[in-house]
């Protein structure tokens, strides 16, 4: 049994008297691939906003390697190597792909003031390697790329931050089947290479079943059940929750 790396304990979130999350707990061990699933409005994104401290109004505990994160600011999370992406793309559209990579590597720039130029070269080299099999040019403006390409760039930018926990918010949203499969392949490959644990928030059942070893199902802000995807997606209450809401 591997040690729990990221632990979420009894998170409650109330905003304006409306309960968004109620007693959500789960944990992530080293090398895990966990999917956080649920119908629209179940509070999936709220959970990761709480983990990454973008949402500070919650009660409960978020710990990383036994260190409490509640008091941290969201910009300090990358120091713990907890890296996230955004549902509606957290890229900087007006800048080039390379500049986006540089910004992603910002923390290392700040900590290694002496070797800024050397570091720039390294980041560029690494970005080139990451983009090896993509038809994306480093000097393309991000907004000129297709949506699928932008998703890939955002994922790769997250990798350059050297995550030990990577949180992906809807990596498959807006992609077609071909792109989804490529995305899965790419995530699996990079995870093996770089050995991080993965938390994926996703709507798409197939995507999660292929990618993740474990799933946590949320419904209306509450933890419905968790387990392996094959088992969980057969359960009656899960199917009901899905049919009730989803129109995919």
């Amino acid at each position: 049994m591997k040690a729990n790396q990221l632990q979420v304990k009894q998170i409650r979130l109330n905003i304006g008297g409306v309960s968004i999350l109620n007693d959500v707990s789960f944990s992530l061990s080293e090398g895990d691939r966990v999917g956080l699933v649920g119908p629209n409005g179940a509070g999936k994104t709220s959970v990761i906003n709480c983990i990454t401290q973008f949402e500070k109004r919650y009660q409960g505990e978020v710990t990383f390697s036994n260190k409490l994160l509640n008091k941290e600011n969201p910009q300090d999370l990358p120091k713990y190597k907890i890296i996230r992406t955004f549902q509606n793309l957290g890229l900087f559209n007006e800048l080039t792909v390379l500049e986006n990579f540089y910004i992603a590597a910002h923390q290392s720039f700040e900590s290694k003031l002496k070797n800024v130029f050397k570091l720039e070269k390294e980041v560029k080299q690494e970005a080139l390697t990451l983009l090896e099999h993509e038809s994306i040019n480093l000097h393309d403006i991000v907004s000129d790329l297709s949506y699928g390409q932008q998703k890939i760039v955002e994922f790769l930018c997250a990798l350059i931050q050297r995550p030990s926990v990577l949180i992906l918010d809807e990596p498959a949203a807006g992609l077609n089947d071909f792109e989804k499969n490529r995305m899965i392949e790419m995530i699996l490959k990079k995870q093996q290479e770089l050995n991080f644990s993965l938390l994926v928030v996703e709507h798409d059942v197939n995507f999660v079943s292929t990618l993740c070893q474990n799933v946590v199902v949320l419904q209306s802000g509450e933890l419905l059940c968790s387990g392996s995807p094959e088992e969980v997606f057969k359960r009656k209450e899960v199917i009901q929750a899905w049919i009730g809401e989803s129109n995919v």
Partner: protein
């Protein structure tokens, strides 16, 4: 832009400026000096408004502080370099305090909040003896020659080029990129571990320091300073330079300062001096409407053409959305 390209372009710029400073007739030499001086203020304003989208009407305050600190210290026989640095440090400290206090203030509220600073200093300089009251102070040249001599302008061009080069290094380094990031997507910046508040204050301080140096040198070029330096119009002029020149671009800042100096001068030369402001107003209106990203947009239009050409020759795998 790579460091090598920056060095080359700044050396070219410096060479051209030096050449011009020795061959141009006095009036144009004066304009050249003014342009060089304003370009620092323009870059300073761009760090605020262009890079981090904090709109400030208060930069005239730093301009005036630089000018006054320099003039007062000069009258006390203190070394020019030390005087310039003293002004810059004082401006930096004030900017740090103001930037920190107004960190929650945005847009027009920030503009008005910062507007207060020059208004305050306008009254203070008018009222104090050491600043020469409403009459202002004379400023003597950096070297033992008359104001506006070739050597004088050449020295100013060397100083501004060095500082301009340093600012362009900063703008193209991780600091400049962090500025861009905070403006384009605050969430995205935070997720990359960029401390948004810190960089907004850094932009404020950087802007103040550049504007202050610009103010010190302005006194040298023009030969005298008055409390009018704290007028709102000065800040508006800096804003025009940054926005009409090109937001978030050092090249744009330089173009902007040239624009604000040259258009009125052009009207002067053809004998329509009283209409020069009209020319400036119409010029900026038209420029903004045609090139919303500023004069630098004309340049990037050419670059983009080239970029598109490169892309078209390359196969694109997935074109779905």
């Amino acid at each position: 832009m790579s460091v090598k390209r920056q060095i080359i372009s700044w050396i070219c710029l410096l060479g051209l400026g030096l050449l011009a400073s020795f061959f141009l007739p006095p009036y144009f030499r004066y304009l050249l000096g003014l342009m060089a001086v304003y370009s620092l203020a323009s870059i300073g304003m761009n760090f605020l408004t262009g890079y981090t989208e904090q709109i400030s009407l208060g930069n005239a305050a730093f301009f005036g502080i630089g000018a006054y600190v320099f003039a007062v210290l000069q009258s006390l026989q203190i070394n020019s370099v030390i005087s310039i640095i003293a002004g810059a440090v004082l401006s930096g400290i004030i900017a740090f305090i103001v930037g920190f206090l107004t960190i929650r203030v945005k847009d027009i509220y920030l503009a008005v909040g910062t507007l207060i600073l020059p208004l305050l200093l306008l009254q203070v300089t008018k009222g104090m003896d050491i600043t020469g009251g409403t009459g202002g102070l004379s400023v003597f040249p950096l070297v033992e020659q008359e104001n506006g001599s070739s050597l004088e302008v050449a020295i100013i061009i060397v100083i501004t080029s060095i500082i301009g080069f340093v600012s362009s290094l900063i703008a193209n380094s991780f600091i400049g990129r962090a500025f861009h990031a905070t403006r384009l997507s605050e969430h995205g910046a935070v997720a990359r571990g960029i401390h948004v508040v810190k960089y907004k204050v850094v932009a404020f301080v950087l802007s103040a320091i550049l504007t202050s140096i610009s103010g010190s040198l302005y006194g040298v070029v023009v030969g005298y300073i008055t409390p009018e330096l704290f007028q709102v119009m000065i800040s508006v002029n800096f804003l025009i330079m940054a926005i009409v020149g090109g937001r978030g671009s050092i090249t744009g800042s330089l173009l902007g300062s040239a624009f604000v100096v040259m258009i009125p001068a052009l009207f002067n030369v053809i004998g329509l001096a009283q209409w020069q402001q009209l020319g400036l107003g119409i010029g900026m209106g038209v420029t903004l409407l045609l090139f919303p990203s500023g004069l630098v947009g004309i340049l990037s239009l050419l670059v983009k053409r080239r970029r598109v050409a490169i892309n078209e020759s390359k196969p694109v795998a997935s074109e779905t959305n």
